[in-house]
């Protein structure tokens, strides 16, 4: 359609493109530029070439952040998808009880990460937390869920699974409702058992939902920050240092703008890769 005035489309878009450009695109250029400098926010910045990247790599900080993020994300995505699918299958039925349980599980996804992180710090407190007390009650000795470097990352992953399982469940429920009941009835008449019906009918038809949930929750987990900042501050001994937290620590605790920027550049590349993957999946979903 022709615009009412020749300048019209431009001023209609100007505020949006201005804000997006200034706060989302321009920062990427600044990050690339700043990553080549050594700067502590106080004294003048000094050009250092690629040495920020080199130091981060040689000290293993980049690899550590990447590995922790990958392990955490893998556990969170697998766990929340598995539970989400199981709950969707169990709760895909009419009735008030099922509706209430569905809402309860999904509400965790809507509530703040801060509230969830604090609630679980209290539940998991080694001395007085409910979980540790119950563990002791059955005669076992509770673990130091957040203080043991071999366990802490998995504790954070478990808390995150609690938080986002409702998301996976809701998407799977929407997928289940798109499957015509006739298919199951026909298969039953042909003598297919419930396992055969799941593997031959339900799962193939749910696969688009599964890919959608998988890619989306992978991106959510890659950007995790709140649980780390609140529950462990990256510790013990860096065991829970996820990528975004590592960047935050570089700039706000070590005052190393250059190294933080170098990590931003690497992290952006990773997130772009993942999101490009996600967009391909979404496009597949639209045409399917």
């Amino acid at each position: 359609m022709k615009p009412g005035h020749r300048a019209e489309p431009y001023w209609m878009l100007a505020p949006t493109l201005g804000i997006l450009g200034l706060f989302f695109l321009y920062p990427l250029f600044v990050a690339v530029q700043k990553s080549l400098y050594s700067w502590d926010l106080l004294t003048p910045a000094k050009y250092v070439g690629f040495s920020n990247y080199q130091i981060l790599w040689e000290r293993g900080e980049l690899w550590r952040a990447f590995r922790n993020t990958l392990v955490y994300s893998a556990v969170v995505v697998a766990g929340s998808m598995f539970l989400g699918l199981a709950f969707a299958l169990a709760l895909d039925r009419p009735g008030r009880v099922a509706a209430f349980v569905r809402s309860a599980v999904f509400s965790a996804y809507v509530v703040s990460w801060v509230a969830v992180a604090l609630l679980f710090m209290w539940l998991l407190d080694t001395d007085v937390g409910l979980v540790s007390r119950l563990v002791r009650l059955v005669g076992l000795s509770p673990k130091n869920w957040l203080g043991d470097p071999n366990i802490a990352l998995y504790t954070l992953a478990a808390v995150s699974i609690w938080k986002i399982t409702g998301y996976a469940m809701i998407v799977f429920l929407a997928g289940l409702q798109d499957i015509p009941p006739v298919l199951h009835e026909a298969a039953s008449l042909d003598g297919a058992g419930s396992f055969a019906r799941f593997s031959r009918i339900t799962w193939p038809l749910l696969r688009p939902s599964a890919t959608f949930v998988g890619t989306t929750s992978l991106i959510i987990s890659f950007q995790a920050f709140d649980v780390v900042r609140i529950m462990t501050q990256g510790g013990p001994v860096h065991a829970t240092e996820l990528f975004v937290y590592a960047i935050y620590e570089q700039i706000f605790m070590n005052l190393r703008v250059g190294r933080a920027s170098a990590m931003v550049v690497v992290f952006s590349a990773l997130v772009f890769g993942l999101t490009a993957l996600q967009l391909r999946v979404w496009r597949g979903r639209e045409t399917a």
Binding site: F24, P27, S112, F225
Partner: protein, 270 residues
């Protein structure tokens, strides 16, 4: 497919136990007193229900101020996003102009960039502009939504051009057409955008943490997290009371708008 009745009942009970249980424990803890918390921490119900934890939280930190800050911030962001997304989506969906493809590509590109990637430069930028510790510093970076613009554009593609042409013949300006004619027709889209945006920014911890150091503009998730960091020892009844204050408004919004919220989330993945 239906699971076997027994397995379905088992899974439902587990879901109820593990998802309702923690909420209940949060509320119960918030109704206890410190001695009770220490001496009989397992007793399901406190000897006497007391709201003293809420009173203490309310008296020790300016909770009203934090609630107001958070509500103002989340409302401003949500309203600003809708106000700007409507004309931008309209231009991208309906108008012909030079550079349209580039503009749309820029919006799509910004869909890929989360605040967790841009916060270091944006913090430096807003620091130079003197906007650290201001409401503007909390709101302006999120004033435009790539997702919102995209959603409005997609929704407008299915609105017939004739409708707009007819309104133009009646002498309506395009601004009037966007806000007074098309916005009501598109209502589900701005409503979904409002819900997603309000809930996300009410809950947001990351950006207020980066942008504020000051009571005056502190938001509630930050304040509750600080309640634990500054609390000496095990005053979990206070933290849980704070948690209830933080979560209750969002759970209320959720209860009132569950259908819309779920539709928005399942369709868009946020």
């Amino acid at each position: 497919m239906k699971l076997g009745a027994g397995l379905a009942r088992l899974l439902s009970s587990l879901a109820a136990l593990f998802w309702v249980g923690p909420y209940l424990w949060m509320v119960i803890t918030s109704l206890k007193t410190l001695p009770e918390l220490l001496h009989s921490p397992l007793s399901p119900l406190p000897a006497t229900l007391t709201l003293s934890a809420y009173r203490d939280v309310w008296l020790t930190v300016p909770m009203g101020r934090y609630l107001l800050n958070t509500a103002v911030m989340a409302l401003l962001i949500a309203l600003l996003q809708i106000t700007l997304a409507l004309p931008a989506g309209f231009a991208l969906a309906k108008l012909h102009f030079v550079g349209k493809k580039v503009a749309f590509a820029l919006v799509l590109l910004c869909l890929l960039i989360p605040a967790q990637v841009t916060f270091v430069p944006v913090f430096l930028l807003l620091g130079q502009a003197g906007l650290v510790n201001t409401m503007a510093g909390l709101v302006v970076p999120f004033g435009a939504s790539a997702l919102g613009t995209f959603l409005v554009r997609q929704a407008l593609l299915s609105v017939p051009d004739d409708l707009i042409e007819a309104a133009r013949l009646d002498g309506a300006s395009d601004v009037y057409i966007v806000y007074a004619l098309l916005a009501p027709i598109l209502r589900p889209t701005p409503a979904a955008l409002f819900l997603l945006s309000f809930v996300f920014h009410w809950n947001d911890y990351f950006w207020p943490l980066v942008m504020t150091t000051d009571d005056r503009v502190r938001t509630i998730p930050l304040a509750i997290a600080l309640l634990r960091e500054q609390g000496t020892g095990v005053r979990w009844h206070l933290v849980m009371a704070g948690n209830v204050i933080l979560s209750a408004p969002i759970l209320l919004v959720f209860a009132l708008t569950q259908k819309h919220l779920i539709r928005a989330v399942t369709a868009k993945g946020f």
